[in-house]
Symmetry: C2
């Protein structure tokens, strides 16, 4: 496999997001031309040189030169482009990312189960595994053992070995300093300020990048979901916690020093419901799974001795609500209204063109019903503009891990093709 990064290349001219004035946000396109071409290829699956030139507004000569370099490095290969234009004699040759040039792993840790996937260099899934987590909150040492287990299971399912991996992306809930690889606080870890990136990297002897899980889901939308056609959008995630990610001009936005976007811990009620972070009135204390479980115990007169799991309890709550149980309906109704508050606040502050409610377990359609979306419209400033577009994107359980793998692929791509800043 190839390990040497390519030589530094020309940086594309910075492009302003628009040409409307001097004070607009200076979020500009900084990816080198080579990187833009490569990422387009990975997103599109395959493309002819002529398409690349037209779609990316890069001269045919530059496309040829960049293609030649990527082909020589083994990062891209020529494929039979017959499927695109088979009617005119000889099928055209298309370019595609060389899938077996590299493999990466993505791992998502949660308080319920850990999951891992293996992706090839083209971003295709080649292996996956899920293992239950030992405890709701546990010491890092224990989490590391479980992380290694789920990773090895995924590698095995792909028919690969650890030596075949370039690196690992890891996501977990909490306040994660991506740049420094530190988990400052996570609801699933007993310790604070864990240098999780470095510790895991040393343990696996592989490059490891870590991030907040909502950012990973946002990355999954960017790489494999809506982001293939959108450049600016917000993602709100709901599972055992509420998270948020923001994409501006194809890139994750993280706020001032990289630790913003904590939507789940914005306050929507003074002296409100207790959150697992220890504060009161956080959005997730009304909307997240654990908040519903807490109320379900009251509504359904839950008996601790039956040892029903949280997921079973929620499923039961949902069934009761569908059957017209007043308490159960009231729980979903309130959660839906607070969710509407959260979505309205995201719109009011970040003004995204699209909000995607995304996650692996979007099961409770009460939360995503038309009356919740109507409530969002009733909460936001009436400016005469089209109300925000809100979409629901229910992925399978493995989407978080795929986002984590995208993080690793992104680091790898940056190293090979980008500005070469990744260690």
């Amino acid at each position: 496999m190839l390990r040497a990064p390519l030589s530094p290349d020309e940086t594309a001219e910075p492009r302003r997001r628009d040409g409307c004035g001097p004070l607009l946000p200076t979020v500009v396109e900084t990816r080198p031309m080579r990187q833009r071409l490569f990422e387009h290829l990975r997103a599109a699956g395959e493309a002819s040189r002529a398409d690349l030139s037209r779609l990316l507004a890069i001269s045919p000569a530059s496309v040829s030169a960049i293609s030649a370099e990527l082909l020589a490095a083994g990062l891209v290969e020529e494929v039979d482009g017959a499927s695109r234009d088979s009617t005119r004699g000889r099928p055209p040759v298309a370019l595609a990312v060389a899938p077996r040039a590299y493999y990466v792993a993505g791992i998502k840790l949660s308080d319920d189960a850990h999951s891992a996937v293996i992706l090839d260099f083209a971003g295709e899934l080649v292996g996956e595994a899920t293992l239950p987590s030992g405890a709701h909150r546990q010491p890092v040492a224990r989490t590391l053992v479980e992380t290694e287990s789920v990773l090895d299971a995924a590698i095995l399912s792909a028919g690969l070995s650890r030596a075949d991996l370039w690196g690992v992306g890891l996501g977990l809930p909490g306040v994660i300093d991506h740049a420094r690889g530190i988990a400052l606080w996570s609801p699933i870890l007993a310790e604070r300020d864990t240098h999780l990136g470095a510790i895991l990297s040393e343990r696996l002897r592989l490059p490891v990048t870590i991030d907040n899980d909502a950012n990973l889901l946002t990355l999954a939308e960017l790489w494999f979901g809506h982001g293939r056609t959108m450049t600016d959008f917000a993602v709100v995630t709901i599972e055992n916690g509420v998270g948020m990610g923001l994409v501006l001009q194809n890139r994750l936005f993280r706020g001032g020093s990289g630790l913003g976007m904590e939507l789940g811990h914005t306050k929507v009620q003074l002296d409100g419901a207790l959150c697992r972070c220890g504060r009161r009135g956080c959005l997730e204390a009304y909307v997240a799974d654990y908040a519903l479980v807490r109320e379900a115990q009251t509504a359904l007169d839950w008996n601790r001795d039956t040892a029903e799991s949280a997921r079973q309890l929620l499923d039961s709550l949902y069934e009761h609500a569908k059957d017209g149980h007043a308490g159960a309906r009231s729980i979903f109704r309130r959660a839906g209204r607070y969710l509407a508050v959260g979505l309205a606040n995201v719109y009011q502050l970040f003004d995204p063109n699209l909000i995607i409610i995304s996650g692996g377990q979007i099961r409770f359609d009460y939360l995503y019903a038309e009356d919740v979306l109507a409530e969002v419209r009733e909460l936001i400033l009436d400016t005469g503009r089209t109300p925000p577009h809100i979409e629901i994107n229910a992925w399978g359980d493995m989407v978080w891990a795929r986002g984590a793998a995208a993080l690793a692929l992104s680091a790898l791509t940056e190293q090979l093709i980008g500005e070469g800043r990744v260690a």
Copy 2:
């Protein structure tokens, strides 16, 4: 006076905000070298060529070339730099922005009074005026007449005429589409979707740029306040409304399509207090002047017949609170607690290094007391990080108008020295 923009110049190499990884926000330095040099000069007052080279990391040869061009165009002049280093024989020659090369006006409209300032090209105040506004909310036609009056009064006070002005920056509360010059909704205008920029520009026969007033105050902080030493900060404004501005890498951030940052209309209480936007539970419905006035009427058993102004009523409320009046204290206490919620949410979402509570009328120290700041610390996620730094910056009444003038100066500078995109 000079009117011709300089020739397009070299763009500085894009600088990443940090070198920490591939997925950090791509807010980069896109100002041309010439613009950075010029803006540094304006902020610093004066600087020698050697200082400019050292502080901006531009080669001495480039500094010389750029200086020569700016001097030839009359935008910069040589001044006696004696004050900097008078001990070593001949005083060094320093550069400074040529103050009389251009003049701009800045106007701030509110429901109470309008204010206007005239700044010279170096950003120094040369004239100002304030006029009461006719009504709380009024037709645009009436507002335009008042705008012209306050502008002319400021021009007169500067000893200038309208022909001496390059252009006007105008700020008002509400949802303002800066890029298109449209006031989508403003609490002080009877109409919606007003093409205020174009209408006023035609009326005055001058270039006009409009913006949300909180963005102007943020610009004032950036040009004349804390921004002279900080590159990233958030500003929260409180007067008859609650606004917010965000500066990232020396530039205003406006969210997805430029209409975000509506902190005053984020919801902090489901089915809460009525806001002047018509919705319930907005932050400003608990914190803004009008919210305090509303409650003061109850607390102080206010008699409508006395025709006391809102400002007098608030002053009276404040005196009562200082004297221990329970109702008055409770009003400030609740407003302070909701303000803490707003500040905590700003920190949780945008993660700024500094939050500046800024405005012309920061009078009620109950709102900015230590217990409010302590409440912010109690509301945010405990990640072990240093809690956000919060500063109070009380300006005079004219600060909003100075920010508006900075908007015009910024547009002018961009046209003369920047990428030349301004019409």
